[in-house]
Amino acid sequence: MKERILNDAMENEKHLLEVHNLTKWFPVRNSIFSRQQNYVKAVNGVSFSVKYGETLGVVGESGCGKSTMGRTLLRLLEATDGAVYFKGENILTLSKKKMKEKRKDMQIIFQDPYASLDPRMTVGDIISEPLDIQTSIGRKERTEKVLAAIEMSGLNPKFVNRYPHEFSGGQRQRIGIARAIISRPQLIVCDEPVSALDVSIQAQGINLLKDLQHSLNMTYIFISHDLSVIKHISDRVLVMYLGNLVEISPKQDLFTNSAHPYTRALLSAIPSIERRGTKDKIVLQGDLPSPLNLPSGCCFHTRCFMAKEICSQKKPELQQVGKEHLCACHFC
């Protein structure tokens, strides 16, 4: 059944989301009197597409622009440049009113389950809030929908009138998930949804997200810094470094056959029980450069173990290195 729906959808439009040259720069000023405008270049011309029903994992170190990208996609932040086509329609140029209607199709789950729930609202109010903004729904239908969302998220329906502080981190994240699914969105941006949780609770959260994706037929953009979580949940993976897309590939190919030196370093840096004792680790030197003044040429060349002269002079273009596998490196 699900396959048929997917096929139909694919014939009409191939991709649920197409992103072209998405750019987000935050202006900063050095001092009150300075005329020169500087920019934190958080997202720098990223292009990719997301298929119906898939999970696109987004990885990178903190400060690489993954969360900014997720928020810009949903217009929670206004993009500096670029286009985002959601089912063929560029949502970046929509009017505020039209965008509000679109929001029921695209939701977000935030990282911090402690900060993303209003402490003065009851669980029921928090979960039903996305319905407020949309069309008027009768009170009875509303209650039904809230209860359904609560149940689907694995919470006890009698929690409806409680407040967020009465819940543990894992339960709060379930409230966040219930809030995201209540309007039956087609796309959910999951911004590190399980990172703040203990491992045993994290596994429960991941399983829940996978189940909901199957039963509600949703597409995920799953942002995480944890590669083992990304490996488990994604179909394709996008690797970001300093606001740039450095590699995008189907999961299997990325993990067995990564082309970009940054991806290789990331993969080898994960402490893993199974790969205990392997000595040939690539340990990157130094920290992420500041996004205020990006390195010239390839932005990774300051930390790259393969860097040659050309890397500091010329910015590498994305090239095809395998089926659906693109990489931005001069030597891939």
Partner: protein, 328 residues
């Protein structure tokens, strides 16, 4: 193999007296650490691992907290019998600690240099200013901070998270402690930076023959740095073994659960296995084994009685499943 214990903790009990009742954060915990070895303490949040470290440092705030029983032998001397002044001499000088949050544990209004000099000047009063500065710079170099002379005069906010954690390590090591307590030293850091810090800590163990206690919830980190592993649950030790034993053949159902619920990098599974439920809060602690409500192998006996920590060869495990199997 018999080794000299640098630190021996026997039957430590640290309780917190709150309005709602007594929280037994650390409940009858015993272990020992030897020079040039790393003991990893694992468990989920609230299992008492950080409080164990703070108890060793005697940094438990009283009230509400109190070390009610047990002994902490450092080189044979009981730290719990020391007075405030003696304890000050030991802290930083013999035993040092690295905290989880490099963002909040440095003082924002002092430069990096001043903060390193502080502990050197307290514990090495014989050094004059120039010598102390030399030493501080040498420490910054040792933890691989580029341009130490420049960083010396900078404030914490000018440094990245990984750099700040290195500064914390430099401060901790400035008086050459022989016991280093690390409380989730890499949790707030990115994997690439985490790899650098773990390499640094491993070097230290080899070069300075320091003993290290590493507290973390990340079994991956444990597998890279630890020699021995102690698993804690709800304030109690549930398993103790060497790192090879624990990953090759975990015994306690909680340890097995923890290992299984980590997504694998090499295997492909449709669903992750989980541990149902969550850690019980102190006022709803079950009568028997604290893990029984979440355990798939629990019996009626587990619900009523708390199992003892039993020896199995050189390992220890707190579970009725292994009773009478004291040889491996």
């Amino acid at each position: 193999m018999i080794r000299d214990n640098l630190l021996e903790v026997n039957h430590l009990k640290t309780y917190f007296y709150t309005d709602e009742g007594v929280v037994k954060s650390v409940d009858d915990v015993s272990f020992s650490v030897q020079p040039s070895r790393t003991l990893g303490i694992v468990g989920e949040s609230g299992c008492g691992k950080s409080i164990t470290l703070l108890s060793i440092m005697r940094l438990i705030e009283n009230p509400p907290g109190k070390i009610v029983a047990g002994e902490i032998l450092y080189n044979g001397e009981n730290l719990l019998k020391k007075n405030k002044e003696e304890m000050r001499q030991i802290r930083g000088n013999n035993i040092a600690m690295i905290f989880q949050e490099p963002m909040t544990s440095l003082n924002p209004v002092y430069t990096i240099g001043e903060q390193i000099l502080e502990s050197i000047s307290i514990h090495r009063p014989e050094l004059d200013k120039g010598e102390a500065r030399e030493r501080a710079l040498a420490m910054l170099k040792m933890v691989n901070i580029p341009m130490p002379e420049k960083r010396f005069n900078e404030y914490p906010h000018q440094l990245s998270g990984g750099m700040r954690q290195r500064v914390m390590i430099a401060i901790a090591l400035s008086c050459e402690p022989d016991l280093l307590l690390c409380d989730e030293p890499t949790t707030a850091l990115d994997v690439t930076v985490q790899a650098q810090i773990l390499e640094l800590i491993n070097d230290l163990k080899k070069k300075a023959r320091a003993a290290i206690i590493m507290v973390t919830h990340d079994l991956g980190v444990i597998s890279e740095v630890a020699d021995d592993v102690m698993v804690m649950y709800a304030g109690k030790v549930v398993e103790f073994a060497t790192v090879d034993q624990i990953f090759a053949q975990p015994m306690h159902p909680y340890t097995c659960g923890l290992i299984n619920c980590i997504p694998s990098l090499d295997k492909e599974v449709e669903r992750l296995s989980t541990i149902p439920g969550m850690v019980p809060s102190f006022n709803e602690m079950p009568k028997g084994c604290a893990f029984a409500p979440r355990c798939s192998r629990a019996t009626q006996r587990c619900k009523e009685n708390m199992p003892e920590l039993i020896d199995i060869g050189e390992r220890k495990v707190r579970c009725f499943l292994y009773e009478g199997k004291d040889t491996e």
